[in-house]
């Protein structure tokens, strides 16, 4: 018998083992839901998949009687717009500050300590300030995402910039490169795949800030909806919405990974098994 650390499951076994926990969770849920609904047909806590389907059907495929909008898609659109805008701006500022502090010592000296302190401020504690300053509309929600995510990206990119071997920077100078040329041809191309992984890692916080901001002050959005229907214990809406948010997060993550693999093959070939 081999040691446990040397036992590697075969490929089909890995697939089965990977699916197993999902199947178990769904199975347990179905049994629990059936048991509760058998006891009390109007139980709201564990709705059946049929009930969830009906609820989502009415949200996604039927126009709202009050406004004529498709709530599900409207919520998705508003939330994605805020998230992508926030993450985009955060990535831009995070990348710029991370790159400049990492690559230019004269920029590091005044900015890096400030960056460290800013990244330690809990962004949620700033939310009231944002609401006061920017009002309750879109801007404050996007600003929360930016403030929460940009410092993390900046620090991550700064670290990656400092990790680029000094030999390469010296080599570029012996090839006659100016400061701008070193930034454009040596630092930035090597840091872009790092930015993508940084965005992938901070996307979770991005969603957190988005849903928190929507829960507190909003009139639409995925986060707004689940906190709204919570008042009626509408688990049949909340659960599919949570699953949908998870799916969206998964798709965005997957798209970022594929983009990175396609555009920066040299970055991934080294780590490929």
């Amino acid at each position: 018998m081999k040691r446990l650390i040397n036992l590697t499951p075969s490929k089909p076994a890995r697939l089965v083992l990977g699916i197993l926990p999902f199947a178990l969770i769904i199975l347990v849920y179905i049994f629990a839901s059936d048991a509760r609904l058998a006891e009390n047909a109007s139980d709201k806590l564990l709705p059946s998949f049929g009930q969830m389907g009906e609820a989502i059907n009415s949200y996604a495929l039927e126009a709202s009687k009050r406004t004529g909008e498709y709530l599900f898609w409207g919520d998705t659109y508003s939330s994605l717009k805020r998230l992508l805008l926030g993450m985009g701006i955060a990535a831009f500022f995070g990348f710029s500050f991370g790159l400049l502090t990492g690559a230019i010592p004269g920029f590091y000296a005044p900015v890096a300590p400030l960056l460290t302190v800013i990244s330690l401020v809990p962004p949620m504690a700033l939310l009231p300030i944002l609401f006061i300053v920017f009002g309750l509309d879109e801007l404050s929600k996007v600003a929360l995402i930016v403030i929460g995510v940009a410092p993390c990206i900046a620090r991550d990119i700064q670290r990656c910039t400092l990790e680029i071997p000094q030999e390469q920077i010296i080599k570029a100078q012996t090839l006659g490169a100016s400061s701008l040329q070193v930034l454009l041809r040596v630092y930035i191309p090597q840091l872009l795949p790092r930015l993508i992984s940084s965005v992938r890692l901070t996307l979770g916080s991005g969603w957190l800030f988005l849903i928190a901001a929507e829960a507190i002050a909003s009139t639409d959005g995925l986060g707004y909806r689940i906190f709204l229907v919570r008042r009626y214990l509408s688990m049949d809406v909340i659960l599919p919405y949570v699953a949908w948010i998870t799916l969206l997060a998964f798709i965005i993550d997957w798209l970022l990974l594929k983009t990175s693999q396609k555009c920066f093959s040299w970055h991934h070939q080294g780590v490929k098994k």
Partner: protein, 262 residues
């Protein structure tokens, strides 16, 4: 090897000192080097040979004394007059072999963004291909560095260092991580390029026989004075400055004992 003698030597050090705080690395160095020499530098670790190479490169400045290039103080940051090959990390991992060489010409001809297109790019591509061919990388021009062996990476680093036609080539233990067979190939390559490109080479090595084989002049860095209670009190200097002729392969007795210490 006959060095072309001119009135001002290519490199001259005059009473050169290098200190880091109280730690004296180099002291009282006085040397002159003429164009065309191939200088190999050996010595124990921490004896200042890498520091001296860094000063030639412009990464470090002398604490006192002068280091002159063509009679003028050597530029205090790296530039295209001095090419460098490090032991590792000296090629750009995000560029293919060809792009790694072209980039030097792009820095030159596209001063703002360092990127060429169209016919201008075509022209430098031809030049780069010829250079890559001369270092034996012609079949690999579209590969990325991580797909190359250690020897091929160093060939690329050398090609890259030569495209801007530097007068001085600095080699910091370039073959230290290579297998002996590959190292022998690299020795032939570097000697060929040294002759073809009229280079003056400074090479740091740990391998004394490599130093004797490649160089026209071998420097041994060591401390002349030692204080056992404070080893940092005195700096190193060049204790042996040996002209090497290609025919003699015998190693002087004093150096043999030094080799044991290395």
């Amino acid at each position: 090897m006959n060095a072309t003698l001119s009135t001002t030597p290519l490199i001259a050090a005059k009473n050169l000192w290098k200190k880091y705080g109280n730690n004296i690395v180099l002291e009282r160095m006085n040397i002159t080097v003429n164009a065309g020499e191939f200088i190999t530098m050996v010595g124990t670790s921490g004896c200042g040979k890498s520091t001296f190479l860094k000063m030639l490169l412009g990464m470090e400045e002398p604490t006192s004394g002068e280091l002159l290039l063509d009679g003028k103080p050597i530029p205090n940051e790296p530039d295209q007059s001095r090419g460098i090959v490090f032991q590792q990390y000296s090629v750009f991992p995000h560029l293919t072999v060809l792009e790694n060489v072209i980039i030097a010409r792009e820095f030159e001809h596209a001063p703002l963004f360092g990127k060429l297109f169209g016919s201008k790019k075509q022209k430098v591509t031809e030049e780069a291909k010829a250079l890559l061919d001369s270092v034996g990388l012609a079949p690999a021009i579209n590969r990325y560095p991580h797909e190359l062996s250690g020897g091929m990476k160093q060939r690329l680093a050398i090609a890259q260092a030569l495209i801007r036609q530097p007068r001085i080539l600095l080699l910091d233990e370039p073959f230290g991580a290579l297998d002996p067979g590959i190292r022998a190939d690299m020795h032939q390559l570097i000697l060929k390029l040294w002759r073809e490109h009229d280079l003056t080479v400074f090479m740091v090595t740990h391998d004394l026989s490599e130093g004797f084989y490649l160089g026209t002049r071998l420097w041994v860095f060591d401390k002349l004075r030692r204080d056992p209670h404070s080893p940092e009190a005195y700096g190193a200097n060049i204790t042996y400055d040996l002209p090497v002729t290609r025919k003699t392969s015998e190693i002087p007795e004093a150096i043999k004992t030094a080799e044991i210490a290395l």
